[in-house]
Symmetry: C2
Subunit: 292 residues, 2 copies
């Protein structure tokens, strides 16, 4: 007899994407989902089917995350098993037990960490409930200090970039548009998204940090937008061209899609608890095949 899951748990996850072939499980490749589901299989080896993970942002190979969110559904038997783990704990501490067990299996020096686990509110869906996603892209150009300690998530770029020109070009891009010029095309998938923020700042060491926010991003959209902005910063692309490219909505070769290395998923925004279910329904209806 198969027992139906009854309780949804939210996981907040961080990872160094360098040695992962992205989030999504793939046979024969080391992926974040694969690694975590393997750990779940170990935790629940004596209590039924391994829960599957549903994620907010299916990051590509090499992309990092400090604010990834996923959910999984547990059966009553699985909850009881966690509560009975020595020392026994009250049911409200079960998510903490799960977090500690997953991190224990992943290992103290691991490149993936479950930062927290919590019972999800009713209607919560990690993939369909989000109202926005935030990404950062870090570039140490010729004007910045190169820090070898941060090299795994900072692109070292040989030229000097004009951050004012970049901000002038990206600040006017926001709004609800078709981003086909900046998306890798996918069959049956729309490229209409609302870009809510795209700006650049130098941090204390002079490293350029791009911050982007959208309701969702289509495939390779962040890295394409950053690539066009870098072309502007280097004087290879006129600033106005970023907007006209967007409006023409056709893929061109005027800029490069940037490497995954500099990209980090930093935060997922969810609506207030009483709007969670409605938001998920709405998202499912709008996007035939939502990505990232």
């Amino acid at each position: 007899m198969i027992e139906a899951p009854t309780t949804r748990v939210r996981l907040d996850i961080a990872y160094d994407g360098t040695d992962f072939s992205g989030w999504a499980k793939q046979p024969g490749l080391r992926t974040v989902q694969g690694e975590l589901e393997q750990a779940l299989a170990t935790v629940f080896r004596r209590s039924g089917a391994t829960p599957a993970l549903v994620v907010a942002g299916r990051t590509d190979a090499g992309v990092h995350a400090t604010g990834q969110v996923a959910h999984l559904d547990l059966t009553h038997t699985q909850l009881q098993q966690l509560a009975g783990h020595r020392p026994p704990r009250p049911l409200d501490q079960v998510p903490d037990v799960l977090r500690d067990r997953l991190n224990g299996i992943a290992g103290l020096r691991s490149d993936v960490v479950v930062r927290s686990a919590s019972f999800a509110p009713a209607g919560f869906d990690a993939r369909f409930s989000p109202v926005w996603r935030r990404y950062e892209y870090r570039i140490a150009d010729a004007l910045a200090q190169r820090n070898p300690l941060l090299r795994r998530h900072t692109l070292w770029y040989p030229a000097a970039l004009d951050v004012e020109a970049m901000n002038a070009a990206t600040g006017v891009l926001t709004g609800l548009h078709d981003w086909a010029a900046y998306c890798r095309p996918r069959e049956h998938a729309t490229s209409i998204r609302e870009l809510q923020r795209f700006d650049w700042q130098r941090d204390a060491g002079g490293v350029l940090v791009a911050r982007l926010q959208a309701d969702a991003f289509c495939h390779s959209m962040v890295r394409a937008l950053v690539g066009a902005a870098v072309a502007v910063g280097e004087g290879r692309l006129p600033g106005e061209r970023m907007r006209s490219l967007r409006d023409e909505a056709v893929r061109v070769n005027e800029f490069k899609v940037m490497p995954a290395l500099g990209l980090t998923l930093t935060e997922i925004g969810y609506p207030a608890e009483n709007e969670l279910g409605a938001r998920a329904e709405q998202t499912r209806a709008i996007r035939e095949s939502p990505v990232q």
Copy 2:
């Protein structure tokens, strides 16, 4: 005929110490000095003896640096060779040429970076001129967010640490003292040093950052002091004991020397140009065998 060097160049260096057996050259091991001197040998393969590096802080295996300083002495022929490198440059740009060549050999994704090179002022000696050294030690305890992107230079510690107790214990330690209780003994070497700063703060992610400054540190002193402070933060060592241990000046087993992983050399302080020579003489006289 051997040509005597005429010009001293200062290098500011950063490295991820994870994959190095420390700074100092050792046969058969990968070290920062070894790597950089090999690059220097390549640069000057056609112009006489390879210049040797003299360093401010001889960091141990696994210790990182963002503010390491070293010097080397170049002959007139070597200066001319750098100036003649295509495209030819005026002599005052020779240090930049050297920096770029060294970084070019080390490779764009390398774990060691020459951040800048400059002509050293008269009397400058990277090892003997410093008036202080600064180190940081980073610990993500049970109360902090663990960021896999920073795991190569942040120790993950399973317990929660009491930062107020730690600050109370370390803030009263400063001054000119014999640090024998916190130093690995070395023959003919004094362990008298002036500790100028030792405090703790949590950063935005809750990571505990210790900042230490001294005229110089004896061997393993930073990691021993941090280990004792962690014992205080965990409630295993009374706070007052840190000072009484110092005053007893005898090595004990009441705390652990912390791993190299969390330790970064962040800055070297040099006196004003007109005091450089005097400071170097003074240091040589005081310390028979200065370390770190």
